[in-house]
């Protein structure tokens, strides 16, 4: 029983990380149909930015978050302006172009910082564990879970309760008509892409104490996060949240029932089956494309 409870917590912790990464991807994919394979590299940039801030400026993870968000969002904004903006009418080519950008970012970091893995200290405030009976939960992981839900809520508010969100939803529904009403679709796309990239940066910052920071860390993450987005349904925030919990918990449970690798294979097989039978995901949004 203890094992299962602890494993469920581990699954939830993984789900929260997946959610943080997948949210940015879901917004970008939902808004513009762009499959951003450079997203994992945005996560990696966030992690390195955190490391740099801690090592050279002595800023801890939590105060670094806004700085990381802004800097990675700026990188995303540039990438959108220079490359992605020219490819909106060729969605399959965005996969290829963003993969190329991913290679460039990864190599730039490898050349600039080095290939060896870097370590970032977790915040002292959140060290230690919370124990409820047999269940032992690391405070930092608990914080990440709460924080990811806060980011989800903030994104939801941004999408549904602000003028920018209204414009974005209008552009998603019909770009041509919303442009007739004076919405600058190009600008909306740029900001959305930057916001998605910034979220990836925050995710990268938060996972630094849990993962080792290496230039290739993004490649594995982006595949997982992308599967979350597809399973959750095109651009659906709730869908992404549900899918990340589902995939996180399924991985955790399979890995005690079978073993880690076979568990992951089982989850991937399940995802393939799900895409086959529900290609629009668990929670499809009704939009005209």
């Amino acid at each position: 029983m203890d094992v299962i409870a602890n494993q469920l917590f581990a699954g939830l912790s993984m789900a929260s990380i997946l959610l943080m990464i997948a949210l940015g991807l879901a917004i970008i994919y939902g808004a513009m149909g762009v499959i951003n394979l450079a997203h994992g590299e945005f996560v990696m940039l966030g992690a390195y930015a955190t490391w740099a801030l801690q090592t050279y400026a002595g800023i801890g993870i939590l105060p670094a978050l806004p700085l990381v968000f802004i800097s990675v969002a700026a990188v995303g904004w540039i990438v959108e302006k220079v490359v992605v903006q020219n490819l909106y009418h060729r969605p399959l080519d965005t996969i290829l172009a963003t993969w190329g950008i991913g290679i460039i970012l990864q190599q730039a970091v490898r050349l600039g910082v080095g290939a060896e893995s870097r370590f970032v200290k977790g915040p002292a405030l959140l060290s230690g564990n919370t124990e409820i009976g047999p269940l032992i939960m690391s405070n930092y992981r608990l914080f990440v879970i709460v924080f990811s839900m806060a980011v989800l809520a903030a994104t939801w508010v941004l999408m549904t309760r602000t003028e920018f969100g209204m414009k974005l939803r209008a552009v998603i529904q019909n770009r041509a008509i919303s442009e007739c009403y004076g919405i600058e679709a190009k600008r909306v796309y740029s900001i959305t892409f930057a916001y998605g990239a910034g979220l990836a940066g925050i995710a990268g910052a938060l996972i630094t104490p849990l993962f080792s920071t290496i230039p290739t860390m993004g490649t594995g993450l982006v595949v997982d996060a992308f599967l979350v987005v597809i399973v959750g349904g095109l651009g659906s925030l709730i869908g992404s949240a549900a899918a990340s919990v589902l995939i996180g918990e399924a991985t955790a449970i399979f890995s005690i029932v079978i073993n880690d690798t076979l568990g992951r294979i089982a989850v991937l097989a399940g995802i393939i089956l799900l895409i086959r039978f529900r290609p629009r995901g668990l929670f499809p949004t009704e939009t005209r494309r």
Binding site: D93, L96, A97, I104, Q107, I265, R276, P279
Partner: protein, 360 residues
């Protein structure tokens, strides 16, 4: 169509002549250089296999490396058995007592060669039936094949006793074909690989210009319309997937012979996307262009990594992004566009000539 077919035939003949005679002469018949170039030629076969499914039928298969790996491992299993008497060494390290049943038939070379083609074709076919019966298309094909690739590689690394895990299969024997021991650093071996590539390309050119290829292109442009004309879209897509997988398996077998080992990195996501890059740089619409793309990018990689040991990946990324943005149809697109432009200029000049002498 017929004129395009002629162009492709001419290109194929030139390509074959250059690969068979030009390259070895430039390389000075040096064993090491020939081996390196044979590696590029083997990779050219995977790239051209991808161009059949991606360029002709519009199915972006991000799992091409999986079928490549299957072929590569089939060959490696045979060579490993020949190198070791009884049980291969890595099985002993993993406490495997007897030879697993999966390995037993690979004692035979005939079986190995058949398996290297048919196992990838069969598995590719299963995935294709699974996807295309449900009319999965576009981005979702890419995602499903990518997820399959990740799962497949994990499985291979996990089954250490069967596949050698992360280390792959090393310490292989040299293949003997009809009493000829294949030395990967010899001219004969180079000719074997070059011959395989030319045969594969001839097959690809024939296929793309046959009625089958025409229907595949119709499906790429508009699957529903092809369906309304009464074509069974799913079976055409499945067949091209099988052919592409078999060719990838073939390339994998040659690749093992060139490098003399098989490694799970052949089935990694980055290798699979590298195949897509080669195909895109050359031009996905033509099998010859795709093969050319693989050779050019790999040669460039070889040269650049000598000059910039660290930075060549960066340069490759930049080249790739530029190709996707400004030459979406690759080198082939650039060539065919310029040919069309020259023709148009010539035609307008001819017409003008007619206008000046209206009554002659």
């Amino acid at each position: 169509m017929s004129s395009k077919f002629q162009y492709d035939l001419v290109a194929l003949v030139i390509f074959a002549l250059v690969v068979a005679f030009g390259v070895p002469a430039v390389m000075n018949y040096d064993g090491f250089e020939l081996n390196t170039f044979a590696r590029y030629l083997a990779l050219a076969i995977v790239s051209m296999a991808l161009s059949l499914s991606w360029g002709t039928a519009g199915l972006l298969n991000l799992g091409q490396a999986a079928t490549f790996g299957m072929g590569s491992y089939a060959m490696a299993m045979h060579l490993k058995l020949r190198a070791s008497d009884g049980l291969p060494d890595f099985m002993g390290w993993n406490n495997v007592e007897t030879l697993p049943w999966l390995w037993v038939p690979f004692e035979s070379l005939t079986f190995t060669l058949l398996a290297g083609l048919l196992v990838p074709a069969f598995i590719g076919g299963l995935i294709a039936i699974f996807m295309f019966r449900a009319r999965i298309a576009g981005v979702f094909v890419a995602i499903i094949t990518l997820a399959f690739l990740v799962a497949f590689q994990l499985l291979f690394i996990n089954q250490q006793g069967l596949t050698g895990g992360q280390n792959g299969l090393t310490g292989l024997a040299q293949m003997s074909l009809f009493g000829w021991t294949v030395d990967p650093y010899s001219m004969g071996f180079y000719n074997l690989v070059a011959g395989c590539l030319v045969v594969a390309l001839a097959f690809g050119v024939y296929l793309t210009h046959s009625k089958f290829g025409l229907i595949l292109r119709a499906i790429r442009e508009d699957a529903d319309r092809a369906r309304f004309f009464g074509y069974n879209v799913a079976s055409y897509q499945t067949l091209v997937f099988c052919i592409s997988a078999a060719l990838a398996g073939w390339a994998g077998m040659l690749y093992t012979l060139v490098l003399e080992f098989a490694s799970p990195t052949y089935m990694s996501v980055s290798f699979s996307l590298a195949i897509v890059i080669w195909c895109a740089v050359g031009g996905r619409e033509s099998v010859i262009a795709a093969a050319f793309g693989a050779i050019v990018v790999n040669m460039l990689e070889g040269r650049l990594s000598d000059v910039f040991v660290e930075g060549w990946h960066l340069i490759l990324g930049v080249i790739f992004v530029l190709v996707v943005m400004f030459m979406p149809r690759g080198i082939y697109g650039l060539l065919s566009d310029s040919v069309r432009k020259i023709r148009r200029i010539r035609r307008t000049r001819d017409q003008r000539g007619v206008e000046t002498f209206p009554n002659t």
